[in-house]
Symmetry: C2
Subunit: 256 residues, 2 copies
Amino acid sequence: MNQKRYQGYLIDLDGTLYRGIEVIPGAVHFMKRLVEQNIPYLYLTNNSSRLPEQVAKHLRGFGLPATPEQVYTSALATAQYVQKNYPGSKVLVVGEEGLRHALIEVGMTVTDHEPDVVVAGIDRSFDYEKLKRASLAIQDGATYIATNVDRVLPTEEGYLPGSGTINIAISHASDTKPIVIGKPETIILQYAMDLLHTKPDETLIVGDNLETDILTGVRGGVDTLMVTTGVHSRQDVEKYNITPTFVVDYLDKWEI
Amino acid sequence: MNQKRYQGYLIDLDGTLYRGIEVIPGAVHFMKRLVEQNIPYLYLTNNSSRLPEQVAKHLRGFGLPATPEQVYTSALATAQYVQKNYPGSKVLVVGEEGLRHALIEVGMTVTDHEPDVVVAGIDRSFDYEKLKRASLAIQDGATYIATNVDRVLPTEEGYLPGSGTINIAISHASDTKPIVIGKPETIILQYAMDLLHTKPDETLIVGDNLETDILTGVRGGVDTLMVTTGVHSRQDVEKYNITPTFVVDYLDKWEI
């Protein structure tokens, strides 16, 4: 099916490798073949709430081969972006442990007071005070960055408000559009390829979501493998007018 | 300047009669002339946080003639709308005292559990849990109503997140547009005219804001008097392409 051997894989998590508490058939075998063939990969996720260690542990719980170094989150990409473009900044964080920790790790000062940068992602302790502080800081001139704009989080409880919902509130109150780091924006993709030391034409993005995973590849000139085990089906390809390079129904259909 | 004698006045508050803690020159004289000539009026406000008693007291503090019965808020209009269209409903409220109280007064049951209707307005104790509960209820089929969609609240602290910001978050998370009651929608206008017992061509809307007060009149076929003491100027009329019937710089320029 595929014509070339990719030098690096960027692999989505939820809907691609597992769904809720269940691993998706074929996912473990797919990852084992990558390992056997010594092909570098990263797990690439818009989730900014957890630390890489936590994500890796979660993946290993499904039998998937994962070290913390193989996990690249929108929190890490956001921290890298801030470090590169706003070195030594004071950052107001609307977010959870993964985001806060990533920013501190790259040497930023996390503060609520006169920040240079406002960074916002999923925050399940979001409240009016945080919304107000973030929006006033942005109105006062702070740069506004969103980890990602996924509208909802699919959970056992249902579709809960995601980073995109937190960010639409901050954006509306401050009348300012954020710089977005996560999929389908390509900043996270660039940084992930830097880590893999691969060029766009050597890299493959694997994911279930046309609007995030596949669109990232389309925008970034990187081939994509869509797997129909998650949110989108083959029929959606036409509906969304976002075309993956390859589509499989299960990851074990893919020859590496 | 004006050709007819209006039988009822609907008068905006902030930017029209006062700004922050200061009464606007001419406002007291304007209201006294209405009283002297026995012309019925209502104070018409999108603010849903306070009770009519509190608003009236605040107005009297500026020397403006106001009883609780002369105050009509988006909270009261929302409660009336719910009572009329969803009698006996269980209502989940995202809002403050004024809204909660108005709904209870018209006999609704306020609950967080399996509501028929979700009503949302300004709520300075808004948080992720409320956002989640509202959005899940709407996804489960509850009717979604917004008191008003003013983006921000102008305060001494700056432009703080308004009801429109709370509602854009709920709307985004639930992927549902609300029914909007307050200005510039005309539901609040219809109910206010019912209270005044006036027809559209006998009524005058007085306000400073083109996008709320004046647009309400344009949409509802009611004449409008714009006063340039608040958010918008004469120059904005062309910019926004919303045309008031009359414009004055101060309310004492207006012959009743």
